[in-house]
Symmetry: none
Subunit: 197 residues, 4 copies
DNA sequence: GATGAATGAGGGTTCATTCAT
DNA sequence: AATGAATGAACCCTCATTCAT
């Protein structure tokens, strides 16, 4: 990639991030391109040098977020850890990203229904793929006798729901910091999987 | 209430329900008043005889939903059950309403950020009050030694998140029916509260 | 049709005519909806109560014009006249409409390429149908031995072209009035069809 | 002209021709400078090194086309032929150019109204001058007794209209080739000028 | 000579809202 | 109690044009 192209890509990324921030703050509709432009110190028209439509912008937010989540999860899957550790790490990683890249992942998780159909399909596919990693881990734990037998699909829904709700209440000023929250969630959500002993 | 007023109230309720349905299906912005009117076989103008603004309509959805949830929860709180049973019943009741009155509660839970500030404050207050019931139960369980000591606020966030995520994946054609889901959730989400024995 | 509907239809027709006028004066693109609205003493938004898009407006101009032309031509075809008279009358009728309903027919004849594909197909079909009447007359004249044998398609193209060019030069202040022009054209354009004697 | 200037002039001509092609295909408005640039493998900005505005580009198309037409007609006028032959040759030459340099002349003939006033005046003047040649021939024919007396202005309008309509229907795959069409038109359009004998 | 980048004016369209009837 | 009609503010998007490099 040439220097020029690199700078252009960087700027586009910047636009996406600002858009994500505003989308997550005000919602897709209420965040106007004017808002986004103003935040970037661009003019409305200028943004269109980098993107094709507001929808595309939303889509890019989704895609970026999902790719980040998937990449991180792939690393975890590849690691040489016991299954219950992988699951906990997966939960913690997800939470870190939800809280850290707040706006980006928040948009992706919370405003899916704003995506037009063709875009949505791509994102839903990625989300399914992502969730499947978690389900794999639960299933594997059951097979290995580490976890008790149960409906892994439901368990994953519970885990996802709990995690994805975080943006609704999280505040940097809260009594727990990121790691503590992540730790708490990982413990709370994995615990019911274990057999009683 | 006079007969007239009664009929008007009834119609207003009808409008709210239809609005809720459309809001939950297409989102607040994409559901136009035209849509709502068409579904009711009214004209756009007529609706304004019963409501003051689209925002108010959204607010009423929220309020109705929250009131339903709160009322049900109050009954449970008043019952003469052990604390862990109350909590499980609370979870089950919530899930029944999420799945049953789908649109109404879905709107309330999923589109809070569309509310304008003055309205939002009222709703947030109700939601807080609602969540406080759950937290009370957790705290009480801890006090009584039924549950282990932990950050009850976090636990409630987890419970709420898991439940409120249901509309995102629930389908009537799924492998579990309502009661089974409710049961599964109640068990899974309360289980980590207990002391190991 | 109820009184209300009638009035609405009337207003829509009015909009179409004003649009046609402006389209023919400034071209489809340069005539803005703002222009059209101003001419009607409406606001831009109001127009959308009657139409769905600017394209539709253009289409309606085309359709109205073609229907007028076709209807008139059908009357002529049905008349009990010798073929060469029918042809001359067709030419005269066409010219009357081009000059009379100036803007409407002018738009239809001159700005076909501005129509989007789905609309264009409909209009092209109508135009073909219209031209076929003329061709039928020429062919019939040839068969009957009134006209000499020649490529009727080309002859019709010539006739059409000559007539449709009129809006480019016609002025009410010109030295010939409508009927004289029509008469001149009919004679000039039909004359070459006859056999020399 | 220096070598530099020559090359620049050549490129400018190239731009005009490509512009003409796109103007005739999509219309003046729908052919964007982006389109034109892409076709030339330039960038949008670069074009402005050679031209001053899109309008100028359109004007140059018109002027080039009119100059070509006028030049050819001057040759014909200067030839030592009988008047009726000159007229026929004029018609044939015009048609050859309409069909051959399709885009250039098509733009000039079909999109005159897109020209801004100052430009239009110049073009209208040229077009008048061009048409006057044809009228001269008709008048001369009348004077000499070759043609019958008639309104030469009208006759020329008919001839022009018929010829300028050709781009609307012409296709290379049609049943007649260029020369045949030209021949047919010349015959058909001149024939009504002659006296019956 | 050429280009990437930015601009800004304006256009079509949508929609909540109002109001006379 | 209901509606047809009208409004206007706001929004997304396009594109000719400019300019520093």
């Amino acid at each position: 990639m040439s220097f020029r192209e690199e700078r252009a890509a960087e700027r586009k990324m910047n636009i996406i991030k600002v858009a994500a921030k505003l989308f997550s703050e005000k919602g897709y509709h209420d965040a106007t391109l004017e808002d986004i432009a103003r935040n970037l110190k661009y003019t409305k028209g200028s943004i269109y040098y980098y993107i094709n439509s507001k929808q595309e912008l939303l889509f890019q937010c989704h895609e970026l977020a999902m790719d980040m989540l998937i990449n991180r999860m792939q690393e975890i899957m590849a690691a040489d850890w016991p299954v219950e550790v992988k699951l906990k790490e997966g939960i913690k990683a997800h939470i870190e990203m939800v809280v850290g890249e707040m706006s980006l992942v928040t948009v992706a998780l919370g405003q899916e229904f704003e995506l037009e159909d063709n875009y949505r399909q791509i994102i839903v596919a990625k989300r399914d793929r992502y969730e499947r990693y978690f389900r794999q881990l639960v299933d594997e734990g059951i097979e290995k006798g580490v976890f008790r037998p149960l409906a892994s699909k439901m368990a994953v829904f519970i885990i996802m729901g709990a995690m994805n709700w975080i943006p609704r209440w999280y505040s940097e000023k809260g009594s727990m910091n990121r790691e503590e929250i992540a730790e708490f969630f990982a413990d709370y959500l994995v615990r019911p999987l274990f057999k009683k002993d």
